[in-house]
């Protein structure tokens, strides 16, 4: 039987506010445990939340970017459950009245067509702390630095039909929130985490199959692999005549499989009710309009501009605008290089190759955009050849510094001094009398082929530094003259 997967994602996006959603503590990542947790975050007796307006503004930005309805009256609710890293014993979230209602985004499929993915809602909530199970014999350590960090939970419709589509959607959301500057998009640090709802059904069937939820997947690659392994698991169960159980599962990246975390029978009753410590958030049209006016260029707009302003192909423009980090990197390279098409080539071919090989995102590129731009400049002003440039590029990747520094210290500067080139050419001619004889006896067509030998020898002798065009000219003159 042919099976079809049905996938929906819940993406938890940490908003990059300076302070927490309900307290004045810093949200910076990586501080000593519990140094960024105040009395409110610790849920000390009598402490009260005060909403951070910046989180509201960021949520509205996101809503406008996905053309969603904005909740003009949104309400914070308490989601009750006990866990040691949840200090109040409830998470303040939004249940019945979220700040962002129904919206949508477009993703590009592999065949080049576009598909619309619905966003059901996006709501504001606070992050929990972290439980640290290592380093404490028989005990658990609690770090509340993260507790109270604002999250925007973005819930999609079950509109995706493959792991690839799910990843494309996640990338799209990633690109929107980073474009908006409302999230740093750093998945390794947990700034974006994803719950994947997965079910399968016989192709053509209308009803959904029973779904499972894979919790807390934190990289694009793992999302794809987790969903694929879950789809496979469910198909195998169904083909064996079994039934999929509705449950929460965890993805084990080492084994590339999902395993059961808790079944629905043990699911919490969260007993949501409106938080009496917070007033409903009422926002007016003026507020929304002001945010709309201040929205930065979004991926789609940037793609169009890239193709018009720089004359890039549709494909190149969409790759280079896929993330704000990529777009910013490319534009910086192009600006320094003074040639957008060359810049696009170097970013998409050489740089992307090494990034992919090393599983790095553009933000983690060891080569700063300025350096790549300077390298292209050196090609353009004939300081080095394209071939030498690739060598310099490798050195830059390996952390040897700026292109000028590498060219200088390694003596890679192209030789354009005609006298020096003539000296090398004379030496080659003198060393190879037979080939010279052959060349001189040949007709025009054959000479074009034979000259390659002398060019190669000359370049080799100059360690690639001689200007190839000049080498050609000098050789012709000497061989024929």
């Amino acid at each position: 039987m042919e099976w079809e997967a049905v996938i929906g994602l819940e993406i938890h996006t940490q908003l990059s506010t300076k302070s927490k959603i309900f307290s004045g503590s810093s949200t910076a990542f990586g501080a000593e445990p519990n140094t960024q947790a105040c009395a409110v975050d610790l849920a000390m007796p009598g402490m009260l939340p005060v909403l951070n307006e910046e989180a509201v503004r960021m949520a509205v930005m996101f809503g406008l970017a996905i053309e969603a309805e904005i909740g003009k009256r949104s309400v914070f609710d308490r989601k009750n459950y006990f866990y040691p890293d949840l200090p109040k014993g409830y998470q303040t979230s939004q249940f019945e009245f979220p700040i962002v209602g129904r919206g949508h985004v477009e993703i590009q499929l592999e065949d080049g067509t576009n598909k619309q993915i619905g966003v059901t809602r996006a709501h504001l909530e606070e992050d929990a702390g972290k439980s640290l199970h290592e380093d404490f014999h028989g005990m658990t350590g609690i770090d509340l630095n993260r507790a109270g960090t604002p999250l925007l939970e973005i819930v999609s419709e079950p509109d995706m039909r493959s792991a690839k589509e799910a990843v494309a959607y996640l990338r799209k959301i990633h690109s929107i929130v980073t474009y908006l500057g409302i999230c740093d998009g750093n998945m390794a640090e947990g700034s974006m985490r994803c719950d994947c709802n997965v079910s399968v059904r016989p192709k053509g069937q209308k009803e959904f199959g029973t779904r499972t939820e894979i919790k807390n997947v934190n990289s694009f690659r793992f999302v794809e692999r987790a969903i694929n392994s879950e789809i496979q698991r469910q198909i195998e169960i169904l083909e064996d005549g079994g039934r999929v159980i509705q449950e929460t599962r965890l993805y084990d990246a080492d084994k590339n499989e999902t395993r059961s975390m808790r079944s629905k029978e043990f699911a919490n009753d969260y007993r949501y009710f409106p938080c009496p410590d917070l007033l409903p958030v009422v926002i007016g049209d003026d507020y929304i309009e002001a945010i709309r006016q201040s929205l930065p260029e979004l991926p789609e707009q940037k793609r169009q501009r890239f193709s018009e302003q720089y004359g890039l192909s549709d494909y190149d423009a969409s790759v280079l605008s896929a993330s704000r980090a990529m777009a910013d990197y490319f534009e910086r390279v192009a600006e320094v290089a003074g040639d957008a098409k060359l810049a696009a080539n170097w970013v998409m071919v050489e740089l992307s190759r090494l990034l992919n090989q090393n599983n790095l995102e553009i933000e983690q590129s060891p080569i700063p955009a300025e350096h790549l731009g300077q390298l292209i400049q050196r090609i353009r002003d004939n300081t080095i050849s394209g071939k030498i440039a690739k060598q310099v590029f490798e050195d830059m990747w390996n952390g040897e510094g700026s292109p000028d520094h590498i060219i200088e210290t390694k003596g890679l500067k192209q030789v354009t001094d005609t006298g020096a080139i003539e000296a090398v050419v004379d030496e080659i001619i003198a060393k190879n009398p037979a080939q010279v004889e052959q060349y001189r006896a040949a007709d025009e067509d054959r000479r074009k082929k034979l000259i390659g030998f002398f060019v190669g020898q000359t370049m080799k002798a100059s360690q690639g530094k001689a200007n190839p065009q000049q080498v050609n000219e000098v050789l012709k003159k000497k061989l024929e003259g």
Partner: protein
Amino acid sequence: MHTKTAAEISQDLQAGKYTSVEITQVFLQRIKQIDSSLNSYITVSEEQALEQAKAADARRAAGNAGPLTGVPFAHKDIFCTDGIRTTCASRMLENFVPPYNSTVAQKLLDAGAVCLGKTNMDEFAMGSSNETSYFGAVKNPWELSRVSGGSSGGSAAAVAARLTPFATGTDTGGSIRQPAAFCGLTGLKPTYGRVSRLGVVAFASSLDQAGPMARTAEDAALMLQAMAGFDPKDSTCAERDVPDYLAALNQPLDGLRIGLPKEYFGADLDPAMADLIQAAIKELEALGAQVQEISLPNTALSVPAYYVIAPAEASANLSRFDGVRYGYRCENPTNLDDLYMRTRAEGFGDEVKRRILIGTYALSAGYYDAYYRKAQQIRRLIRDDFVKALESVDVILSPTTPGTAFNLNAMSADPVSMYLADLFTIPVNLAGLPAISMPAGLIDGLPAGLQLVGNYFEEARLLNIAHQFQQRTQWHTLAPQGVPV
């Protein structure tokens, strides 16, 4: 000295008749002598009190004393006090010392008032008799076999026994007004949002409100003046100016329109209480007030609605007491569930557990609409009743409680009867309105209270009426008989 009101002490300190240290020592001494028979204080912070008194005297010498500078008072043990144990009368917080002040505590500290200590209360303010305290019941200074009322029963007993001139209280369903009535005091529950809740251990967040408990309306005005005001750290606190409560006290009552809800004066009202209220009304009429009957048709629904909403909020508010970060933790937990279950089973008393269970039930999947949502709808109806009634009258008058202080242990086996006795006070919290209880006479030697409910933020009017009434009557000056005064 100990029988003086706060206003009198304030004048004496200003006149230099004695120092703050002297008057503070008088009260500290008195607490030592008398409180063992009342149990009104959980913690007496003698050392800090004397330091504060010294600082107050220095401040006065420097010429920047305010009206409360150097005047002693006591805090209900629900207000977090920096460096002073705050227990909420629970084993859960038996040894909890907050590293911060509640806004109310900070404001009173800034005013220079001297905190003598922390008063007893029902555990987490859940109760109407002060019998649910982990630190034992409080006795009524009028008759030691009787309850002081609750939940601010320690504050009430301490003020009535002259162990402090006045005290703070909190009122979620009557917890200031009912003990004030039982102990012959003037107690004001301000409009919801008038006084900051920051640092006040939460019982039911949408109902809790802090207020003053004193012998006279004048003292209550003095104290409210220092307690009230906008706090940007409490999102439900009202951003509006605080009027001059003292200045409003002497306004005449000519033309004051008083409404009597017919639902409160039914056939089941105790005749002695009915007579007492009628006599008080005569006094108010003599002061220029006019009385008319009004209707609050949804009154009967208020206690059931309250006992869904308050426990629901409480069930979440008390989840933070889990033994993880502070407060009581059970011995040698074997795993996480064991830690939670035994910490909370051992740390909370029966009434608190009862309300957590009720609230958890009311919010559970499948019951939410029938209980919580329905209760919120009723709450709106009750508020609408009051808003409508207050279009035709200025204040609404009733007894504060159906009867006077009952005997210790008389009601503790029957919580529902005790809940139902709060029928006059609870609707006011549901509506978020301000209300005052003032002494209106004695029934069989025990004080009875009269409640006035005003419109939103009309605390000044309520204090004004109570003050005028107290200019004509002596009930508020009577001393209790159970302890030497």
